[in-house]
Symmetry: D2
Subunit: 329 residues, 4 copies
């Protein structure tokens, strides 16, 4: 736990990074799920900084796909996709502040096989879509279900087992006045699909409205860079987070802290714009908080920056730029 005690959350958070009251947000407590990130919903929970919240999340299909014979085009009802828990009201949060969300654990929930992936018509990274509009015929639908456990991993088939590397696919705050589809990432967070948003990491999210309105959902048992076909190993989960509040820390885009790295996440199209956003935010962060002259930060990132592709399938693509903390000391 040592690095956490020296994290930005611990140093700047209202709760000092210390765990506070515990809450449990069950499916029943949640009631209706949300399909937009916006300020027009009523909070399901109000918490003080430091709160530890265990959340029962649905998978991205809200459990509608229970067998490999369930066709997505019949079972799914656009735009009611990617159901989100929340919003969670964080007491004291005002526009210009920042939420710190420490991800403690993600555990699959419900009967096995708990994992689902699928090929869905006109959706994915290597097919024509509603945006990259093509005349080619869509690929045939395809659903794959599999057992996913923390101990046993993701049992792809009888030859291949992938490691259990869970993360939160969709997490963010409410925009100030917009209500943005939970399928879309943007400066408020949302459907970023960055695998580093995983247990052990702290996500920093901009607060745009009183209470912040934290939403989350869409946990993945594992995922490759880019979430190529558009559907990771989707799992319902119990996800436990600790939420702190940093007053006056104004950030334009989501950030991430792990034991050894700092990340900034950009979401945009074309993909180079997402990369530009992420690297510019990281440059600015190094200048604002770590004493770098701008050109030095720019040149150092050229040699030591890393870029993770979150997804190349959403309405905006997400990429995460990072730098080792040891170069910032």
């Amino acid at each position: 736990m040592s690095w956490l005690e020296n994290s930005i959350m611990a140093r700047r958070g209202v709760a000092g990074g210390r765990a506070g009251a515990e809450h449990y947000l069950s499916i029943a407590d949640q009631g209706a799920f949300h399909y937009v990130y916006g300020p027009y919903a009523s909070p399901v929970l109000s918490v003080k900084p430091g709160a530890v919240i265990s959340v029962e999340t649905q998978d991205a299909f809200e459990g509608a796909i229970t067998s490999e014979q369930d066709m997505p085009s019949e079972k799914l009802n656009f735009p009611f996709l990617n159901p989100q828990n929340g919003p969670i009201f964080v007491e004291g949060a005002e526009k210009g502040d920042c939420l710190a969300v420490y991800i403690k654990s993600i555990v699959p929930r419900g009967p096995q096989p708990v994992g689902t992936t699928a090929v869905i018509p006109e959706f994915g990274g290597l097919v024509g879509t509603g945006t990259t509009a093509m005349l080619n015929k869509p690929l045939p639908e395809r659903v794959k279900k599999m057992v996913v456990t923390p101990e046993g991993g993701v049992v792809w088939n009888d030859k291949i087992t992938l490691p259990y590397e869970p993360f939160i696919g969709t997490i963010g705050t409410s925009p100030q006045i917009e209500a943005i589809s939970s399928l879309q990432p943007d400066s408020h967070g949302g459907n970023m699909d960055v695998p580093d948003v995983a247990p052990g990491a702290i996500v920093y999210l901009p607060v745009n409205t009183t209470g912040g309105y934290l939403y989350l959902g869409d946990c993945h048992g594992t995922q490759g860079d880019g979430e190529l076909c558009g559907v990771a190993i989707e799992i319902p989960s119990v996800t436990t987070i600790q939420v702190d509040l940093i007053k006056g820390m104004t950030i334009a885009w989501p950030r991430l802290e792990t034991e050894d790295k700092l990340f900034t996440i950009g979401s945009a199209r074309p993909m180079e714009d997402a990369a530009r956003i992420a690297y510019r935010e990281l440059t600015r962060w190094m200048v604002a908080d770590y004493g770098f002259e701008e050109m030095d930060a720019y040149m150092l990132l050229t040699q030591a920056g890393r870029m993770r592709l979150g997804n190349m399938v959403d309405p905006k693509y997400s990429l995460a730029a990072s730098i080792l903390k040891k170069y910032l000391a």
Copy 2:
């Protein structure tokens, strides 16, 4: 008026394209303006199909820039930009229907010089922005005010006068569950900035929610292709429209009809995706309503299609594909 009598609006509209009751929506009637296109606002007006509505619109800056000394960075308050009138509830409109909006006239409103353009930091087509994130220093701010009249045109300076070619920069319906910034165009319409959305044309807009929730604003005295610096000749106006309703005509993206052409409008990034959307929609329209085999439509548009660049500055770019009606007969 002959072509109008044979327009899609006339042939398929609930009101048969005939003018009905007249309404006037003044600034006072409007009260608070809107900065998102969404279903969470209350209608300011409820009309029957055929209604003729004269709307007092604000300019994109809500009148905050009154002299060339007013700096946008001081006068503007993001995200409260591009104020929209409405929503107007159209009786009988249900998801899957289509609104037909015939634009009768756009007249500048208020004291001269009524026209405004500006160079705003980190906004525009030839500068780094929040999305195309750059480290270069922004351009200096710059405001230009000018007299705009229907008779005298747009008086750019003592040597150059541009023709008065007004159009509606931003018009659309509400998305089903999203509330999308009025700065952004998408499948619901919004900030498309297509100069053909002008008096004499009929815009067709998808209905996503009961009543349709029509919004409009952001009239321009004229504009070049792409709205290069991001700010056209912005004017407050009295804009008069006639609104009809077409039951069961389901369209995925906005369409436009003029005396001699049919248009489809796509909005996306990168720009080729907006062009793809527009041309695919037009291909599909030719197949669905004009008896073309898909490959024939595709090949004919290759030879006879036209593409208008609306804007290259918004969160999504808008382009309008078109074909002469005479090739569809």
Copy 3:
């Protein structure tokens, strides 16, 4: 001819825009055609500024598709596509100069039906390609042949006849050291597919190497904006041009002059970058030659600029920005 006498070519050309010696470059004279724009070929012709040259061009398929039963995948042999005449050596041309090519006429050549269009697998604006790589199955191949004459137009079918609006699809100079596929446009010109490169217009091309090395080919009987399926009305032709030389006029990208407009052409991906190049070049031209302050040019183009989409199918897309000359006086 009055505007020509006041054209840039006439005012600055070595030959003063006056026609000089006449040349005829037949298929036999040409011998081997070229499939790259580069400095490694030997000139087929050397001319003095003012030369009027009639060129027998092949169509983009080098005549290999003679019936609607000829399948492109069997008849075409990549990369030997889009055959180019030339290079033509212009005496006195040195790096940093500019060629002015006045297009006098384009006449179809050979037995009817002389026009060809086609749907070719993995090529076109609404399909997955080698660059926009998809897993969807390609569209079926399709060839369409038609009669094309200057008087009778493009006889699409028994109901539709398109006007004969010929232009040069591919024209340019040699890069300095690169040899670039004739399928690709870039700063040297090449496969731009801009319909304004038509009889009556003057194209200005950068000279990158001694003699300029002018290539041309790929004439079209007509074409829509974007050349959507990738194949316009391809025709073999006799194309007559007059070539002048402007010493010391250094341009970064191709330009175009017509009676009433000036154009700059940009080629890049994504499409917005092609638009940015074109508008920046036009801005710079207005500053350099027409006395505009940069911000004034930028703001005026915002209101009065026009943008023509050449193609959205080549390895780089081409767009042409323009402004009416009357605003530059």
Copy 4:
């Protein structure tokens, strides 16, 4: 060496992956360097499959920047940048074959400080460029020189030392008829800047012309993902490679093999197209050589694929998709 004995090179190469004759290509032997990848140059060396070749490479500036006071805009002479050694003729190589280049070592060469990076006007990932054309003023020039040794790493400053992680920035074969700038990557390889093209890896390159015509240069002492400012730690080097030939293995884009992974590299703009190319090639490879059904490969890459960003600064961006070999067994 065990994995090498089971590499594709060893299993399919004409030389069976065994080292053959040794060659040394000094600066003097090389004579004139090359700035395009093309078939128009004469080979500097002809080798048999299995040849081990030590090459004295220049840095990307051909040594023109020797102090931090050397301004790139004065010292560099476009397009004579990124000098390449070669071409090396590989005996027996014919179009449709594939070269296997095993990278044995990269050692810095010449007097310290041997490493150079720089901020160059209108070049880089976070600035306007000739392609992403902006009106903003360029960043000021900046040069940084540093000591680079295999043992001591990259001495960035007195606080930061980066590990020595050398790789070949630019390597490839000749296109069939094009001559492509050494600044640009494409299907023939070239300026890919993928850090995995490092000692211990085998690069597979398509052969497009008799002899293959292998070029290489542009070694980097280290580099971050994306080569953000456009200039990595540029070093002159002695680079030792072993070249084998695989008859009849036809690949569309460069591939890479390491002990535990297989990679495919795509280069294109916008960036998503480079990612699409890379992932489609990897999908196709899994189908062709590892018995996957296409949809299974697509879905598995969604969960287990990795994507490395090579550069986001060249005329085309390069990304490398990869999969662990253990999932292919």
